[in-house]
Amino acid sequence: MDLRRFGFILLVIIVLFGVVVYIGEVKVAPIVIITSMLATTIAVATPLSLGALAGLFCERSGVVNIGIEGMMLSSAFFGWLGAIYMYHVFGFPIGVSVWSGVFFAMLSGMLMGLLLAVLSITYKVDQIIGGTVINILAVGLTGFLNRQLFFGRGSVFGGHVPNSPGVLPTIHVPITEIFSPLCGSSADCLQVVTSINKVFDQKPIAISAILLVFIAHYVIFYTRWGLRTRAVGEHPKAADTVGINVIKMRYLSVTIGGALAGLAGAYFTIESVPSFEPLLTNGRGFISLAALIFGNWTPIGAWTAALVFGASQALNINLQLFRDVIPPQLAFLQQSYVVGLVPYILTMIILTGIIGKTTPPAADGVPYEK
């Protein structure tokens, strides 16, 4: 991605952090604020960047995907459901159930992706419409099943939601253990170390999200498969004439995209919180779509964009924590509504092309007719 955009995004994040540090330092040590904001940013960015990657694979192969939201929602539900079944009905141990939950989430994501593929590639349905169908379907299906399976007369689990096997464990990075001796007795130093440690202690999906960003970057730009995928998204006919099966490539990419959206869904119900609620994705699928465009259809770009969204939510939360110490000249910041607008307005600015033009794959959204 071009440096101009990268610099801009970096600047935004720094500003957002700066504001909070400026306000909060009277109460909490800057290092604590920064690290805690970093932690929040990474957490919030996880589903967003995964969702953006989902979109990336679809759109690089020439299929617009605004169904990410629906894919996330349904896989959040089915992953959670799968975990519960494994645990309660089939009596697997907790660990197994949880991980198989992740598997089920990705599986249902793939199925949703497959649906989009069938609609947009085989039936050549307008791709944006196809996505809309998926979004509506997901809302209905999850809400319906969630109620019908767990509540009221004749429900599978006799009218109450069974205890889900829980969430994925945090992977502890022993920074404190290693560095705290160096601190000796200095409390500040110890604080620094522990709070830094907090940033590094992440859960599997959060970590894999970051890894996947770079893996995706490598795959898309440095491998045969990536070259072909991009070719299919740029000029399918040309790809066809060198013997690349356009339809197959697109099906593959869209399904992989679905799987990634599924992983994003798993984050909600299997990593973050072990319960499902209707509509819990709350429009994050659309935000990740914005992040994708924001990042100009590149994995790293989309990821940094996701970080911006994360940072501005961290800002929003922290401003409320420090509500009582917001200086009068910044009073407007007390309106969380105002702060909440930041990412949306940023996205629109990006779309105007002021900060570098965003160029989608040439054949994005165009069904391939032989």
């Binding site: 307008d126 809400g143 109620r147 429009g283 309106q335 629109m348 165009v366």
Partner: protein, 375 residues
């Protein structure tokens, strides 16, 4: 999703063209209903009782009919908004925000204007004004997106989504702050009630159906007329089907895009305004959630044809309205309605599936509604 935009000869009037568009949607609905029935049966519900409830609850009594009309009113406007944009080659996902904003501002004029002027205003002036302001608000919100599309190429889908969030945030702020109902007993984020002079008269006493419904039908006719009989409509459709040809033909494409988006937003805003002036007499957070998205489904189901939109709106309204009765009889969750709607939409969008099931030949010149991100 594809739509037949072959322009009609005089011999084919509004009805004829509507009939052409109606077969596939009918079969789509039929198929969806059957599939939905299977789903209900699978979760040990009684599909027949459920559908019976739906129908009884939506058409079974005068009251039911009135309620269906109440539901249909905003649907028709919002559906027309999306459909009009489709005709102009634009995908307005922002009806949601435009509608809410329209509601807020017509509410503002509804309750605040008399205070500002310090005197009552005759209904003949106040009511129209209230509605117009609501339309203006929606129009303005959409016009921004149209402008960005025309002059920067920023894609309307993302921009309208962003504008939705901005609208919802702004409204949350207004209803919790400056515009909040000051009544000591009020605990809700909502505006005060609007003055009587800003309220739409009821058609029949004791029923909630209001003149907004009739207005909706008239507006649908108007939209059809504009699209198919006027130079403006010709321009909108031309830009929608082939922008390059439109430019070649001397049509001001940028202007047309902005006009289309503005009209679309105006219709959405009107939906909001009528919810306030005809039904709720105030705006409250949480009113009108999700109408914008239903509107997309409605526009598609109606094949972006104004008459089709009206029929689709009534269908969706009936489903939403009948849901209460269905719940009461079967205790099936409301979400079933969303499932049905999604299935219907699915089959309408992928009409190839329907054509396959019922062995129908494809016919008619077709154009794609939206064009990727290129804009």
């Amino acid at each position: 999703m594809q739509v037949d935009t072959t322009s009609k000869s005089p011999s084919q009037g509004i009805l004829r063209s509507a009939l052409d568009a109606i077969l596939i949607p009918f079969l789509a609905i039929l198929t969806a209903v059957i599939l939905g029935g299977i789903i209900i049966a699978v979760v040990r519900g009684n599909p027949f009782l459920a559908y019976y409830g739906l129908i009884q609850g939506s058409f079974g009594s005068a009251k039911a009919l009135s309620e269906t009309a109440v539901w249909a009113t905003p649907y028709i406007f919002a559906g027309l908004a999306v459909a009009l944009a489709f005709k102009g080659g634009l995908f307005n996902i922002g009806a949601e925000g435009q509608l809410a904003l329209g509601a807020v501002f017509s509410a503002l004029i509804g309750y605040a204007l008399p205070e500002w002027l310090g005197r009552d205003i005759p209904l003949i002036i106040h009511l129209p004004l209230t509605i117009i302001i609501g339309m203006a608000a929606g129009a303005f919100w959409a016009a921004i997106v149209g402008f960005l599309k025309a002059y920067t190429g920023g894609h309307e889908v993302i921009n309208t989504i962003m504008m939705n969030y901005i609208a919802l945030n702004t409204i949350s702020y207004l209803l919790n702050g400056p515009m909040k109902d000051r009544d000591p007993n009020n605990v809700i984020a909502r505006t005060p009630l609007i003055a009587d002079s800003a309220r739409m008269p009821a058609i029949f006493e004791g029923f909630r159906i209001h003149w907004g419904f009739v207005l909706a039908l008239l507006i649908a006719l108007l939209v059809w007329w504009i699209l198919n009989k006027t130079t403006l409509g010709f321009e909108i459709r031309t830009v929608g089907s082939n922008p390059d040809a439109a430019k070649y033909a001397g049509i001001n494409v940028k202007r047309t895009i902005i006009i289309t988006m503005t009209l679309s937003g105006m219709l959405a805003g009107m939906a909001g305004a009528l919810e306030v002036t005809g039904l709720n007499f105030r705006h409250e957070l949480g009113f009108s959630i999700g109408y914008g998205f239903d509107a997309i489904a409605i526009a598609l189901l109606g094949k972006s044809h104004p008459l089709g939109v009206v029929l689709a709106s009534i269908l969706f309204a009936a489903m939403r309205n009948g849901a209460t009765r269905m719940q009461f009889l079967t205790q099936l969750p409301v979400d079933l309605i969303s499932v049905l709607q999604a299935l219907i939409l699915l089959f309408v969008a992928a009409d190839a599936i329907i054509r396959y099931i019922y062995r129908i030949k494809s016919k008619g010149e077709r154009v794609v509604l939206t064009r990727g991100w290129g804009g």
